[in-house]
Symmetry: C2
Subunit: 341 residues, 2 copies
């Protein structure tokens, strides 16, 4: 223990196992046995060492122990950002699971950039994380190969890459189809879909499996309910939306791939003096918490993000513990009818 000279700056370093060993007149191995509760050590020796460790303010160096053991008890989480409450709830639930299981989190935010995603993943692999939970932006064979090369347990969430990776999602396609049916049952005759974010995703050539599934579900629903041609908008322009509303051939509604879009649509309606749900129905997806504070209460789909995060972590843990089977999990959901339909 003590002050080491380094670059002319004095840096204090915590006591090491060797320091303790010297002070107690035992070997490093013995100190290790005491500190880490391994057996084959006399009670008194152990107590003496523990006491010394405490006095010297010993703090284990995880880097060193990880290096020696080849496992870091850390998992890497990669997602786009935390601004979307869905992501933050997701990360939070994983953090909680990890903590409960003695793991820690290394978080990488990609801000929608595939390049940063790969860099981040590479970095995490280099940090010897025991596993990776990714909401992937990337896709394609090259990307798949890169991930596979890592030789690290990986669980993908939401955006599926291929059947080579254990995957967790909600069945967006089925859900959207059901949503359309429900809306029709509630009397809506025309349903538009506002697929905001889709174009950007296409431009960046990002993985949009999940977006696609939801969109396909909408199309499935429209077909099944014989509503005519799907009406898909991709931005917040008021004109086309207004045209759609004014068409006067049956009660209209707008279905959205996630809540942020629905909130924005609701706001547009308010600004143009269109009342919800009297003049138009709106439905979102994810049931983010803030919906509880907005009137009218938006219809949405509760995917139990916490459960989804838990599932993802459990699946990862299973792989880490040696299960080499690739599995796909579909998590539960509940449709929230709210007051906007």
């Amino acid at each position: 223990m003590g002050a080491h000279e380094k670059n002319k700056k004095v840096i204090f370093i915590s006591a090491t196992i060797k320091d303790i060993a010297i002070r107690c007149g035992v070997s490093e191995g013995t100190v290790d046995r005491a500190l880490n509760g391994r057996d084959g050590i006399k009670k008194e020796t152990k107590e003496r060492i523990l006491q010394a460790a405490k006095e010297m303010g010993y703090r284990p160096n995880h880097l060193a122990s990880c290096l020696a053991r080849g496992s870091s008890k850390t998992i890497g989480v990669v997602c786009a950002g935390l601004d979307n409450p869905f992501f933050s709830a997701f990360v939070e639930s994983i953090e909680r699971m990890a903590y409960e299981n003695g793991y820690y989190l290394n978080l990488i935010l990609t801000h929608g950039s595939r390049e940063k995603e790969l860099e981040g993943i590479d970095y995490l692999a280099g940090r010897q994380v025991d596993g990776l939970i990714i909401i992937p932006l990337g896709l394609g064979e090259e990307y798949e190969r890169q991930l596979l090369n890592l030789q690290i347990p990986i669980v993908t969430v939401y955006n599926r890459i291929s059947d080579k990776f254990t995957h967790v999602e909600v069945d967006g396609r089925q859900i959207m189809k059901n949503a359309v049916r429900m809306m029709v049952e509630k009397g809506y005759k025309r349903i538009a879909y506002l697929d905001s974010g889709y174009e950007r995703s296409v431009n960046l050539n990002n993985n949009r499996y999940s977006l696609n599934q939801r969109r396909l579900g909408y199309i499935d629903g429209v077909e099944q309910e014989v509503l005519g041609e799907p009406v898909i908008m991709t931005n917040y322009d008021w004109e086309p939306l207004e045209r759609f509303l004014k068409a006067e051939d049956g009660k209209p509604a707008v279905l959205c791939p996630f809540d942020a879009v629905a909130i924005r649509v609701l706001d547009m309606m308010k600004q143009h003096g269109i009342s919800v749900p009297e003049q138009v129905g709106i439905m979102g997806f994810d049931n983010i918490r803030v919906l509880n504070s907005i009137s009218p209460r938006l219809a949405s789909v509760d995917c139990e993000i916490t459960g989804l995060g838990r599932k993802a972590f459990q699946a990862l843990l299973q792989i880490i513990n040696g299960d080499s089977e690739v599995r796909e999990y579909i998590t539960e959901y509940t449709i929230i009818e709210g007051e906007s339909l």
Copy 2:
């Protein structure tokens, strides 16, 4: 490179510097020079090594390099949770700064538990993080000593611990005082303060420096504007709130220590058919993004969370780079008048 036997499980391990050295018939030191752009190496040798590294799929082991260098290029971030959009925006801005400066993030969520906070900090110290950014729950001499013992650069945010730590905050006291003045100028005669979360914080004996400052600012303001006794409520009971509203001796308003409270109050008003701002004014704090989607647009205080995160990171970097001066930073803010006053 290759497969090592370990616990009867075959684990593939990426090529190491030694593997490359052997394959190229050079020493490990030379490989290091090539890989890390150090000088004193012939161009051809370098190219040959780089080529081999690529072919062998070399991926540096950060743990090992951190251990050897004694620095991890990682900073630890400790905060309560991500459910509050304020926190998630804060973490996100730090992540961004970190990334731009070649650092990575180790995130610990405390979920309001002081115990978990200490555990987390200890863990991060053990991971040899280069520095810590904390929104502390802890307080007191014992806690201060524990942090100091870490001998790690630390920046506290929002909740101040003592003058021993570099600290970043917005001046909640001054801001709240100004807010009260502004409200009075807008014609409000009676202003209540809904200090939700305060009692819980007292019970857990958590650091509530920031909450206190805001509350004190409110009291300062009430005194300065001669509004009589401060009216402080600590939960969402409707009765006392209703009594306050009905007192009929001047236009009432409710000031809240953060937006989540203001949103909730707005919702209560809506449910009881009280119109905002006609019958009561409401003001929050933090200007979280979702306010843009809620009507009426709540008055709030924009603390530029991003700037706050940036400042915190810069301050930390300065300490990491050897500045031993303790500094305190007050960041900018803007009062958003919104439509709720």
